[in-house]
Amino acid sequence: MGKKFERTQIIIGFILFMAFLISIPFFASDYWMTLLVLILIYTVYASGWNLFSGLTGYTNFGLAWFIGISGYLSSILIADYQWFWLLAWPMGGLLVSILSMGVGYILLRIKGVYFAISMVALTEGTRELFGTGYLEPITHGGKGIPFVAGIRLPTLYWSILFLAFATVFICYKITSSRFGLRLVAIREDEQAAETLGIHTTKEKIIAFALSAFLVGLGGAIHCTYQNYIDPNYAFNIQLTLTPIVMTLFGGIGTVFGPVLGATLFTFIHEILWAELTLLYMAIFGAILMILILFFPQGLLGWMKEKGILPKIRKI
């Protein structure tokens, strides 16, 4: 009885919260909406990163590659071929998820630090390649593509809100599913998982491609929101790093850790950026070091450890 009641309470609370989020464009100022858009974009990045890396333990240092590839395709479709944004975005996501299957098939046999480095190398290599003259007819080279997608801020906000919600929902579903368990098994002991009949290569690639799709969609929306793309911007290591820090901050391998991390961190970013622009990155780096040294589990992990939250995977 009591449990059911709790459940209805949660559902009602959730519906009210969603209604509030959806109605924001009707009363909030553009500043707040912009801030929320950023939070939501980073929620997608962080959750998407966590979906693969947090569960399988393969640290993906190539998030910017997902963002850049998808951002480029969608931006080119919008800028050069006048595609409708709603069609261009999924194309970006699809392309990067298909490419990531190939990349994953090749690179996911490399373990640990080497995998992380190979993803950085892939991102950096692609960034340099996009900036050279060889791909200029397609990518416009290093000078970038400024474009206008003809989308209003509220529409963009609702789109990213929908994507963020979908991403978190997918993460929630996966984390509490047996597919999620298989991914965690890979993180805990890949060889043992294999001798227990788990097709680890397949599971890894599926998770990698799914992560690429979600993050890629986020990247496409991000570029549309910025109305601009260039190699240094789209493949910036910063885009890889920030979501990782957010996830670590909230709690790696948890469902709501990345959401919490993205939200808190975007606010911190706003304050630091406004107050300490010149030292912003230094503080960012220091926070990263402190997190690894003292709170490797993140906020949610720490709360689970202390017994404030139950130790279940669904949170």
Binding site: L181, R182, A185, E188, D189, A192, A193, T195, L196, H199
Partner: protein, 237 residues
Amino acid sequence: MTVREPLLKIENIVKRFGEVVALDHCSFEIEKGSIAGLIGPNGAGKTTLFNVITGILQPEEGHIFFKGKEITGRRPHEIARMGIGRTYQIIRIFPKMTLLENLLVVGKERGEAVVEKALQLLERVKLYDKKDEYASDLSFGQQKLLSLAQVLMLDSELILLDEPAAGINPTLQNELMELIHRLNEEGKTFIIVEHDMKVIANHCQKAIALNYGQKIAEGSCSVILKDETLLEHYFGR
């Protein structure tokens, strides 16, 4: 009457690590429904043999047949799904998963059936009460039981156990061996690597002795345990 096909057939397996020959033309057969002991001193190649059978290592020469089908060169997960399960000497469960999750992750069934099966198995290894605890919180012996339950989740016909009795207390040891016998009666076949001669003598119908990667003796336990050359290698006499 046709000749009975052995469940597992090892044929001339050679495995080298650099210049060291870990398995040297090793051959034997395992009958369905038996419990076989695999003995030999440390470094004799027992664990390597397990790794080769389960596909973790690829042999340089030789063939392995399971139920008449060749499994040499297949990936570990394929071999596992064909019905060969194993446990490790150093327990390799998934520490940051609950006991129930440790079993669910292995199961092939869909929907509620898998949960039911997992709970039944937990009951069977007497870990039901701890189903929602992290596997890392279990004692060494309990982890061994959990590891066996994981293999049972797979419905393996052939189960390879790497030193199941080592390092756990006698009561638990007896429980474990009793469980193995009951499973054997239900039709499961076992190969057990064990150092403890008591365990081999009391529980195995047949023993295979390895040394320097070669099979040096094979036969019923009583014969093997009287084998002089074996004793020499094993105990230094």
